[in-house]
């Protein structure tokens, strides 16, 4: 995000004055594709879309794959609730994405790039279009870039709002004009992607790191962040913190520092209860994990995820059962319906949570939740179904007591589960009390 707020995103010259397109020039005139890939590999950059797959390796696979044509696709679907980092990058620094895509194209041997962008991001779309036109105008996109003989063009495809289209194989199907549904892997997109051809799919934030890595070098990048996860991460901080917003921090910054430092602490000094890291499919982190360094490896070790970098912070007034139920409602809506565990499982998880929230839960339900969540994680076709129950595992692990209070005492201490709250309506006019025991 180094340029965001410092340049006029609708003026390519601003970007160029801040060393824009220098990396692309160097790459296409001085480096061989494999040398570019080596730099990215050495940088240790990992995919910022959520999975954290080594970017250089992905580039290498696509470079090695044989195909009539190859494609670079920027995943700008950003459907993860509570995440808007890619939006900021595209609205504030669109050329960083275009430059990176062209570099990637050169490295893997592609002449066409697609930006698959969330349809709601109209401002980003507008700015990207302006950026593409300006870059073309200046010969920074199009044919024979820097007289190198390398051609690269970029097309924009707008998504229609399905969460699952952020999953790479579903995203490719959507670009192809088909129903956006995940496909079994293998084959991986690196070998058989868009229209069956080798395709490199990278998240916007991942790509936004490329030009600067080329310019400053892999070593420079290595010095930021942690050993296993070099570089920075853009977090979208939201919820019950004083300052909500988007922040770029070195990988491995502890959660507490993010909330207390950049978030300015909890609103109204209420007690921190839980932070969901990584979006809807992320884990729910309790107080005792506040000092966890926020990077892929540290979080994976404790069964959490960094995901998209979404951080939803909630205070003591929120009910864990209610949170889990809301999340399952989201997944039950967004599952594409192709594979059994996801299509049927999300609905069943929701139903059971709903039952608990109404005071009809039984101890056996917790076992069922675990059993089903585990089956989904192990057998669902794509990341959506596999990750959907993460909140269930993590809340069952760290907040089991709260589930038990709902089940055994028929009590929701926060008052969120309406079915468990005794409401008393006092009719002040007649002075008569009407008990309402629902």
């Amino acid at each position: 995000m180094r340029n965001c707020g410092h340049i006029d995103p609708e003026n390519i010259k601003d970007y160029i004055t801040r060393d824009g397109y220098q990396a692309l020039g160097t790459v296409v005139t001085e480096l061989k594709p494999i040398e570019v890939i080596e730099i990215i590999e050495q940088s240790g950059l990992r995919g910022r879309g959520g999975a954290g797959f080594p970017t250089g390796l992905k580039w290498k696979f696509t470079h090695q794959a044989a195909g009539k044509e190859k494609y670079v696709v920027a995943n700008a679907d950003e459907g993860e609730p509570g995440t808007s980092k890619d939006r900021l990058i595209m609205e504030g620094d669109p050329h960083s994405l275009l430059e990176a895509m062209a570099i990637a194209g050169y490295a893997i041997g592609a002449n066409t790039g697609y930006i698959y962008i969330r349809g709601e991001y109209q401002l980003a779309i507008k700015r990207l279009k302006i950026a593409i036109a300006q870059a073309k105008e200046m010969g920074l996109l199009g044919e024979n870039l820097f007289d190198s003989g390398f051609n690269f063009e970029i097309k924009i495809r707008e998504g229609a709002g399905a969460y699952v289209c952020g999953e790479e194989t579903a995203l490719l199907k959507s670009i192809e004009g088909e129903r956006g549904e995940p496909q079994v892997k293998p084959p991986y997109p690196t070998n058989e992607g868009l229209w069956g051809q080798p395709t490199l799919i990278n998240n916007v934030e991942t790509l936004a790191n490329i030009a600067v890595i080329i310019r400053e070098g892999a070593e420079w990048f290595n010095e930021i962040g942690t050993e296993g996860c070099p570089g920075t991460k853009v977090f979208t901080l939201s919820g019950d913190v004083e300052n909500e917003g988007i922040i770029e921090l070195p990988m491995g910054t502890p959660l507490r520092r993010i909330i207390e430092g950049f978030g300015g602490g909890m609103v109204d000094d209420k007690e921190f209860k839980v932070a969901q890291s990584g979006g809807s499919s992320g884990g729910c982190m309790p107080k005792e994990l506040l000092d966890t360094p926020m990077d892929y490896d540290s979080l994976a070790e404790i069964g959490m995820t960094l995901g998209s970098g979404a951080l939803l912070v909630m205070d003591e007034t929120h009910c864990i059962v209610d949170i889990a139920k809301c999340l399952m409602q989201f997944f039950k809506h967004e599952s594409c319906g192709k594979c059994v565990p996801c299509r049927e499982g999300n609905k069943r998880l929701y139903n059971r949570l709903d039952k608990i929230s109404k005071g009809e839960g039984e101890l056996e339900d917790l076992e069922r939740l675990r059993d089903l969540a585990d089956t989904m994680s192990k057998t669902a076709l794509c990341g959506l179904g596999q990750m959907a129950p993460t909140s269930i595992y993590t809340t069952l692990k760290y907040f089991k007591d709260e589930y038990l209070t709902h089940i055994e005492d028929n009590n929701c201490t926060t008052g969120s589960c309406r079915g468990l709250v005794d409401l008393e309506v006092q009719d002040k006019r007649g002075g008569k009390d009407y008990g309402n025991n629902n």
Binding site: P186, K332, C336, P341, R343, L381
Partner: protein, 570 residues
Amino acid sequence: MEIIIDGQKCEAEAGQTVLEAAQQIGIKIPTLCYLKEVNEIGACRICIVEIEGKGYQTACTFPVSEGLRIKTTSPEIRRLRKLNLELILANHPQDCLKCERSTNCELQSLSKELGVEKVRFAQDSGGYKLDQSTPSIVRDYNKCIKCRRCVSVCEKVQGVKALYPNQRSFKAIISPGYKQELKDVSCVLCGQCIHACPVAAIKEKDDTERVWQVLNDENKHVVLQIAPAVRVALGEEFELPPGTPITEKIVTACRRLGFDKIFDTVFSADLTIVEEGHELLARLKNDGPLPLFTSCSPGWIKYIEHFHSDLLDHLSSCKSPQQMFGALAKSYYAETEGIEPENIVVVSIMPCTAKKFEATREEMEVNGNRDIDIVLTTRELARMLRVCGVDLMKLPAGEFDAPLGITTGAGDIFGITGGVMEAALRTVYEEVTENELEKLEFNQVRGFEGVREASIDLAGQEVNVAIINGLGNVDEVLTAIKEGEKEYHFVEVMSCPGGCIGGGGQPIPTTEEIIVQRGKGLYDIDQAKEIRKSHENPIIKEIYKDYLGEIGGQKAHNLLHTTYQERDQY
């Protein structure tokens, strides 16, 4: 390459899936949504196996690679499979006792295989209206388990693409797009989706009740015709090996059901050859339009009407054997027997669901009399026989009634891909060359490849023929014809793979292997017939002499020919 499955070393070939490799060494991994080479999408997750370093993967999609170590069974694998199966069952009506696919249902047998004892989720299915919009096929969305086998068969095997996944999550349904009904889309009603369906979510429209009613009506003279492909398949419904010909037993069984006359569609197949052969020769003589396409397969007719209506004048104007039979039953037969055509009910037993639609086409009537009144599939006939407790194998042999039951072997092979072509060639060859054929079998048009070609020398004129086996192969051939790459004179098209023996109304399962067996049954029947050339059918000669007049003449046209209509694609 070598891989290890459940501790056993196993030789596998590149390109194979784990499922296929396991099958080779006798390990049967359970599957549900998998249809070999047609639906390999890993949707049901029942075939999951554990692959070292790769977690749980679907065996039907995972390609083998050197040194792969696979576990196909373990307490955990069994638990995961069972739980996913329970999720499917909880969203599937538990009314096996009342279901027509009971004991012939893949979901039911899978539940048994995986040892499902109870479903730990509340029953939650139903509420969908059935799609009964066509005369042929009923879709029951309540029973659909979203395996998508029908979608893949419709798209990849038949090339029709009438079905899609619609909506999403647990509201997903497999149906025509945009909430349309089957009647609104370019579904050709071939019924191949029925064979693809593991449960009873797709079935034929059951017309047995209508047949019971007319059989019980004393004022009705109910005549039956039985299509050739039925006689080599019905036995499967009564545990006989596929392809066992039981023609004579079927005749007796149907007599017991109360039909007044039992006739044979093979008769009108002979008649079709005589009329269509004449039409071919006329087109060869008068410069077209060529190629001439056969018109016996109603799914194909609907297909060309939807997708290639610019070629409608290439279709033979001959009605199909089913319809020719009906037209003659209510004219020639009615007159000779002195029965009012209004009092005759013609029932057909067909291997086909599209035949039900064909019978309802507005073109298919003469002087206000519908050619055909009711069409039953092979499966529906079996249902009627079961209800009556007919013990098929203990029945004495019966014979078709005269006159519309006197047939030749050429008509029998109408039921198999290439059969219409072969029957036509037997007749056309003798007519043109005026020589008797030494060998009646035209082996060059036999077989089960999707497209077959042959050139036949007809007294100096080279006639190029092609056989299209299954609608999925049509576009390729028609494109070649339109672009002038191929110059055929005569093209046979059968909608269903294998021809009518693989029809959508045949016993379930209908597989490639079973189709081959049924085909053999038909060739055996032909082989054993005394007369094997349609133009030598004595009754047909007589009917032309006494009733129809000229082949291809005015009366024949009125009764035996039809017209076609352009249909929308969407």
